[in-house]
Structure formats: C-alpha cells, structure tokens
C-alpha cells in the first residue's frame, strides 16, 4: 500500500500546484483561451475514462459534446435559467443520450463498437442539422451566459473563467474518483481480461454501460460549459471531426493516465490557436496530422505516459528504497 499512498501523494501535489497556477493564470493569459482549453481538457478526460480505463474506443463522443451545448443553449435562451442549472440539465441530457448509445453498443467490441458509436453520432449530427431549434448551419447564436446563482454576472470574462475552472475541477475530480473507486477497480479488471471478469461473476455489459453514461455526462458538461463561454453552439461540435480530435488529444497526452488528456488538450488547443492566426492557418490539419503520426510511431504512450515510463525506468531504484 506504500505504493498507493505514494502515488496518491504525488497526484495531490501535482493537482495542488496546477490549481494554484490555474487560479493565477488569467493574469497572464487571455481568459477565453484558458476557458476553451479547460472545456476541451474536460472533454478529453471524459473520453479517456472509456478508452484509457475500460478499453472502449468510442468514435461518437462529439454527439455528447454537442448535446450538452445545444440543450443548455436552448434552455438558457428560452427559459432564462441560471447558468448552473442550465449546465446541469445539459449534462443530464448527454447522460441520457449516452445511456441510449451505450445500450445499443456495449454488446459489440473493438472496431465494431467504434463503428456503432460513429453511426449513432452521425445520426445525431444530421438531427441537429435539420432540427429547427439548432439554427442548422448558422448555429445557435447569442446564448446568454446569465447570472450565476442569480447574482454573479458571468458576462465578465474573469467571473466566467472561475466558474469554468470550478466546473472543470468538479468534473475532473469525479473522473479521478471513478477511476479510484470500487467501480473503477472492476473497470480495470475488464480492461485487463474481460473473459476472466465475467467468469468471476461480473456482468461486464452493465459495467461498460455505466462507464459510458458517466463519460457521456461529463462530455456533455464540457459541451454545455463551452456553449456558455462562446455564447454559441454550432455543428462543428457534433461533426465526426470532433470525435477524431478528442482521440488525438487523448493519445497525444497519454491514454490511461489521469493527466494525459489535459496535456493533450493543451497541446492541440495551443497549436490550433498559434497557427490559426497566421498564414499557416491553411496547413493546420496537415500539422496536426503530422504530429499524430509522429506520436503514434515514436511515442505511443503519449507525453504523460512516456514521462512516467522514463521516471519509472530511471528512478525505480530510488523509489523502491524510499518505500521500504
């Protein structure tokens, strides 16, 4: 258990340092950029819960990001809800959709699972394209950020930033707890050896479905928050490109690691922001593609995974003496 305690301690130390950094960050960096990053980081973490900790590759997570955004946007625009309620309802809508997706897909494995989720997400995309309330190609514009708890004006970017940071922390903590819970232990067992988990009496499909619902809910939370940040929800979020982008973020950062998706999202968003301004804007997909190829060929564990591997290999001796 020394091992567990130690990894616990290093997690909380890292989290503490990052949180202080995040609280101070708006003094140095444009808050809207930070908020965009936090939304995508949460989205990638939600995706990683399935890919990294259960071994399920969903290729339809865009549907949950978009559903969170559209539902929250619609409710905020038409019913004047406070943002915290709007965001929670968007999240619940995504969870519900995730339950539907999961019920239809968890019986399949590997590439078939990925294809079923992709097909369902395309169905959702075309629904949002046609449905009158989404604004179709124009997107849903002018979503009000509203007043948090009825009295904090989120029109102010700094207030909005801390609201988004709080949501990120809650979502991230929920994922961390899920991974390190009795339920998370079963998920890891399923990832490691599904047939054996079944033979020990676990009804594997129900656990996969549950993981799917949690993942979809948090992806929806990210989408709902993002819609408020930009006061806009568009079809970009529902497009299969978005499902691909979250795979890229997760693999780049390191799947199956708790910080990997956060780092991956930071890299992808930073590159997109740096290059989209200049003349290089047209080449952005080529650059991303090249990075992806290099990542898959040269460092398969992703940034965080490679770092951890490097530390384990070089400092294993030091760590084990410390443990005894």
């Amino acid at each position: 258990m020394a091992n567990l305690l130690q990894s616990d301690r290093s997690f909380y130390t890292t989290a503490g340092i990052l949180l202080v950094g995040a609280l101070l960050a708006p003094a140095l960096v444009y808050p809207v950029f930070l908020m965009k990053f936090l939304c995508f980081a949460l989205f990638a973490c939600a995706f990683n819960l399935m890919l990294g900790f259960v071994g399920m590759l969903s290729f339809g997570h865009a549907a949950f990001l978009a559903t969170g955004g559209y539902v929250t946007g619609y409710l905020m625009t038409n019913f004047g809800l406070t943002p915290e309620i709007g965001v929670v309802l968007g999240m619940l809508a995504s969870a519900l959709l995730g339950w539907g997706f999961g019920a239809l897909s968890v019986k399949r494995e590997g590439i078939y699972f990925a294809m079923v989720t992709l097909a369902l997400a395309q169905l959702v995309f075309f629904f949002y394209l046609q449905a009158p309330f989404t604004g179709g190609e124009n997107g849903m514009q002018g979503i009000p950020r509203g007043q948090l708890f009825g009295f904090i004006n989120l029109g102010d970017n700094l207030n909005m930033y801390y609201f988004v940071l709080a949501i990120f922390v809650i979502g991230f903590a929920l994922i961390h707890r899920t991974v390190h819970s009795p339920f998370g232990q079963v998920l890891k067992a399923i990832r490691e050896n599904e047939a054996r988990a079944t033979s020990l009496g676990y009804d594997v499909r129900r656990y996969k479905l549950m993981a799917f619902v949690i993942s979809a809910a948090i992806a929806g939370l990210a989408g709902a928050t993002k819609a408020l940040v930009f006061e806009l929800e568009s079809l970009t979020d529902a497009h299969w490109h978005m499902s691909g982008e979250v795979v890229l973020m997760t693999l780049l950062g390191g799947m199956g690691t708790i910080w990997g998706p956060v780092v991956g999202a930071a890299i992808v968003i930073a590159i997109a922001t740096i290059f989209s301004g200049g003349e290089m804007g047209n080449y952005i997909h080529i650059i991303m593609g090249a990075i992806f190829v290099v990542c898959v060929l040269a460092f398969r564990r992703g940034v965080v995974g490679e770092f951890r591997h490097f530390m384990q290999r070089n400092f294993q001796a030091a760590l084990s003496t410390e443990r005894t």
């Binding site: 258990m1 091992n3 707890r177 899920t178 390190h180 819970s181 009795p182 339920f183 998370g184 232990q185 079963v186 890891k188 067992a189 490691e192 050896n193 047939a195 054996r196 988990a197 079944t198 033979s199 020990l200 009496g201 676990y202 009804d203 594997v204 129900r206 656990y207 549950m210 949690i214």
Partner: protein
C-alpha cells in the same frame, strides 16, 4: 471415499448436450453426471470436444440442444456471469489473471464481487482495504503471500496459475471447472498445482480437463473419456485405463508412460 459414495447427489448433470458448428458436431449428445464432492476428469484426444464442453457448461457458448442442470436447476442459456454467482466458477486454458494489477488486487477483485459495492463510483477504493486480510489468507493458502504487492505480469507461469486458483477460491465456489490446470508447466510446478488441487478440493466439486495422465491418476475419482464429441466410457482410473477402446483411442502409448 465411503462418505462420497453414500452421497449420491449429482451437482452437475447434462442431458443430451449437443453443439454443432456449421454442420460439424463438436459435442454430440453428451450426458455427464458429476457427483458432489468428486474430482472428475474429462480426458480425450485432441479435438475430442473437451474445451467446447467447458464452454457450454459455463454458457460461454450456447448449446445447439440439450440441457444443463446445476444443483438440479436448469442453467442452460443464462448469462455466464450469473452462473459464476451461483457458485460454478471456471478457469481458462491460458492463465487468466489481470496482468497490470497487483497479485493482491487480483484476489480482491473476486472478493469484491460479493460486497455489493461494485457500482459505487463515488466511493474511494480504500473501502476495499477491508478485504485485504481475507485476500492475504487466500494467497497464503496457495503460497503466494510474499508476492502480494508484486505486479502480476512479473510472476512466473506456474505462480500465475496458482494465483488463478486463489482468485477462483475467493468466490467460495461450490464447484470449480479447471481447464488444463497443469498445461505447459515443468515437473515441479505440475506437482505443486496437483498438491494445491488436493488441498482446495475440501467441501467442493472439481471438474477438470487434463492431458497429464499422471495428474489424472493421482487426483481424479472419476474419469470421462470423450472421443469425437461423444462419451466413449466412464469410470475410475483403473476401469478406464483397462478399457481396450480407450487404449486404442487415446492411451495406447501414454498408458505405459503414466504407469512408469
């Protein structure tokens, strides 16, 4: 022995169990009767359908026809995981462990199954620590206590199989199905696993597929010989090994080896 003979109950029975794969009959009207408390071995040449029978019994495969009774209850076609919860737990031909979890965690996963907190995603995994003591007892039983904190991937093959038995025992199954428990092992490991099986048989029934006839002769109370998917004969080791059909079909050379 006398005690077991008095107990005439069958814990597991099959009636005309049949499985066809696109016209090929892998298992043909097999009637098995496993007595409560026995170690029952299923033997036969390669391709006789032993593993298919195993997969049918634990519902990893649905039978084409026939029924399976466990404790007199029809379990044909129910979920594999539900069968495990009823007390019929199987092992696999290739060692079935969770390689990136520790040895202790492997056993704990099995103990956790009956805790009823396996869907609790909001609780800390520390609640599982109360299972550690029981897990350590089980590891001690199979001689793995000193490896409790080791990542399972790093264990030797023989120890992985021992861990698998400890994990299965954690469910306190009424009946264990062992698929070639000594396959691919050196002499020392074979003996160790055989000892272990004798040790854990107390209070439960074991059905095993086994190629090593030395192990079968040492452990099995009853033996069923399968050939081309059908039951050729059944009986104790002396009866079965004396049967000329068995010698012809299967034991021909191996009988002398086993006797040696």
């Amino acid at each position: 022995m006398a005690e077991r003979e008095m107990n005439n109950n069958y814990i597991l029975e099959t009636q005309n169990l049949t499985r066809e794969f696109r016209g090929f009959t892998a298992v043909d009207k097999v009637n098995l009767q496993i007595r409560n408390g026995d170690i029952h071995a299923l033997i036969g040449p390669n391709g006789a359908g032993k593993t298919t029978v195993f997969n049918l019994l634990t519902c990893y495969l649905p039978p084409s026809s026939g029924t399976i009774l466990f404790n007199g209850r029809d379990i044909t076609g129910i979920e594999s995981s539900a069968i495990a919860r009823q007390g019929l737990v199987r092992s696999f031909q290739i060692s079935a462990v969770f390689p990136n979890l520790t040895v202790l965690e492997n056993v704990r996963i099995a103990l956790q199954q009956r805790e009823g907190n396996s869907f609790h995603f909001w609780k800390s995994e520390r609640v599982l620590n109360r299972l550690n003591q029981r897990a350590e007892e089980l590891l001690d039983e199979v001689g793995l206590l000193s490896f409790a904190r080791v990542t399972t991937r790093d264990l030797s093959y023989g120890r992985k199989r021992a861990l698998e038995i400890a994990t299965t025992l954690a469910l306190e199954p009424q009946m264990m199905l062992l698929d070639e428990p000594t396959q691919g092992m050196g002499h020392e490991d074979v003996d160790r696993i055989a000892e272990l099986i004798l040790k854990v048989r107390k209070g439960r029934t074991i059905l095993m597929v086994e190629h090593n006839l030395h192990v079968v002769s040492k452990l099995a109370d009853r033996i069923t010989v399968l050939q081309r998917g059908a039951v050729l004969t059944e009986g104790d080791y002396a009866t079965v090994s004396a049967d000329p059909r068995v010698r012809e079909a299967y034991l021909g050379v191996s009988a002398e080896e086993a006797a040696a």
